[in-house]
Amino acid sequence: MISVLLLLAIGLLWPARSVSAAAEGKITGTVKLDGAAPHMKGIDMSKDPFCVKQHENSPAHLENVVVGAGGGLQNVVLYISQGLSAAEASQAPAKEPVFDQKNCMYTPHVLAMGVNQKFKVMTSDQTTHNIHPLPNPLAGNIPWNKSQPPGAPPIESSWKAEEVAIPVKCNIHPWMHGYFVVVKGPYATTDEKGAYTIENVPPGNYTVTAWQEEYGTQTAKVTVAAGKPGTADFTFKAK
């Protein structure tokens, strides 16, 4: 009897949930670093005179931990790890993710994208790069390695499985190291203040996961109501 009632209740709730999915909500927040920002080593680019020239006036540093004013942590990817329906999880944000090789660095250093979402790898540099993502083939994504000399057209590709995160490197310029973060559903990446907004989240209860390459992941429970964005702030402890 109870199970019948339960089924009925679920049956009644289901369409309501689908309808409300049209009313878009969002999840916002800030990611901060607690403690002193670790020293990021300068990069010796002397192997390639072109790269050296690009950084004559702005020395390049590693970007494993980028901390802005007030301790805001940049390049943290936020995504919904629980609570999305299958249909919602298959919807990536409309904006095409673009990975640029600029001044012998990756811009952005961390690129978030959806499963099966098309992304673009381009080069702004007058030096040859090779773009070499190294996913785990046993998890469903297959590594590849393509060259991109100056003026070469962008490479378009996509990943068919969720993977947090895929290291990307350039073998020619060994300091070039970044990540593709492949997730299901809406996502966001923190800006230089550590702020983020995950758009297009239907009302509901969710678990949001924050991923940072050095500090790993943290999760938080968030409720999004119609017209009322959910908030989730995260703090990673400096090592």
């Binding site: 046993l138 590594p143 590849w144 390695n145 060259s147 000399p149 070469a152």
Partner: protein, 290 residues
């Protein structure tokens, strides 16, 4: 006392459950692999069967590539480069595009040829049928060969006539796409990025030196050389160039690379006649960039 027994039985139940779960997990993967033992290979008129290769694999391959095909055989610790891990389905020598599975014939050729500058010998002493069977057995280690089709083989147009213009054009390609970054201004494998190269397992790996006369890893013909740089060698720093070198230019580059090798060749002779300084101009390229 009663309570302790209850606790004890709970723990026991939990333990048994865990044991059963891990047992069934192990069986599932073994079952999956056994299922894949039905794997076939098709090379020309030959059909290879994984089941027929079990004996030969145990006898000839298991020492390096391991019982599970993961490249962790008992000899692996002494070898450099390391034996291939077949479970990943990633292979250097392919006629297919980067990030795709090789053709059966690619694996067949590798087994027959062996891999120069490694511990992988030529297995041509085995019959063609035995090698075809081994191809099927190698494939059975990776689920990718069940779920994915091999990539599209790149097209190799007929080799054009060697001319002085083509030889010079080949040198220009070498400079333009910056092969010298790794392979060195004169092709000696001593480019500015050579020392820091690592393979996908993060082990140091050296770029090919065109001057030492060793065979290429993936075949010795001009077509093999064309294929090597166009498809790239997956699992290594060598990327695919097929998006950025046109077929015609690729042949020019083949001619130029041949002229760098120490062996007697038409290309080397022509380069001498026209006074093409191997890499003199290329050596100036890094300087010109400054």
């Amino acid at each position: 006392m009663r309570r302790m027994m209850l606790n004890g039985s709970l723990v026991l139940t939990a333990l048994v459950t865990i044991a059963l779960c891990s047992l069934s997990w192990g069986q599932a993967t073994k079952a999956e692999e056994d299922q894949r033992l039905g794997m076939e290979s098709h090379i020309g008129k030959l059909t290879g069967h994984a089941t027929s290769a079990q004996g030969n694999y145990r006898r000839y391959c298991v020492g390096c590539h391991g019982e599970l095909g993961d490249g962790e055989g008992e000899n692996a610790q002494w070898l450099e480069p390391k034996p291939r891990n077949f479970t990943l389905g990633i292979f250097k020598c392919r006629s297919t595009t980067t990030g795709t599975l090789p053709l059966d014939s690619d694996l067949f050729d590798t087994i027959g040829r062996g891999l120069d500058s490694s511990n992988m010998p030529s297995w041509n002493p085995l019959s063609a049928q035995e090698r075809a069977d081994l191809v099927a057995y190698v494939k059975h280690f990776s689920a990718r060969f069940v779920t994915e089709k091999p990539g599209t083989p790149i097209e190799i147009p007929k080799k054009p006539e060697l001319t002085a213009e083509r030889l010079k054009a080949g040198q220009e390609v070498f400079q333009r796409v910056e092969c010298w970054k790794c392979h060195g201004p004169t092709g000696m494998g001593n480019g500015p990025s050579a020392a820091t190269l690592t393979d996908d397992q993060n082990r140091p790996i050296a770029p090919y030196n065109f001057h030492d006369g060793k065979r290429f890893k993936c075949g010795t013909t001009d077509e093999d050389l064309y294929r090597i740089f166009m498809t790239g060698l997956d699992g290594t720093p060598m990327p695919s160039w097929s998006d950025n070198i046109k077929p015609d230019e690729a042949w020019d580059l083949v001619f130029y690379l041949r002229s760098l090798q120490p062996m007697k060749s038409k290309e080397k002779e022509l380069a001498r006649q026209i006074g093409l300084k191997s890499g003199a101009a290329a050596a100036a390229a890094p300087a010109a960039q400054q």
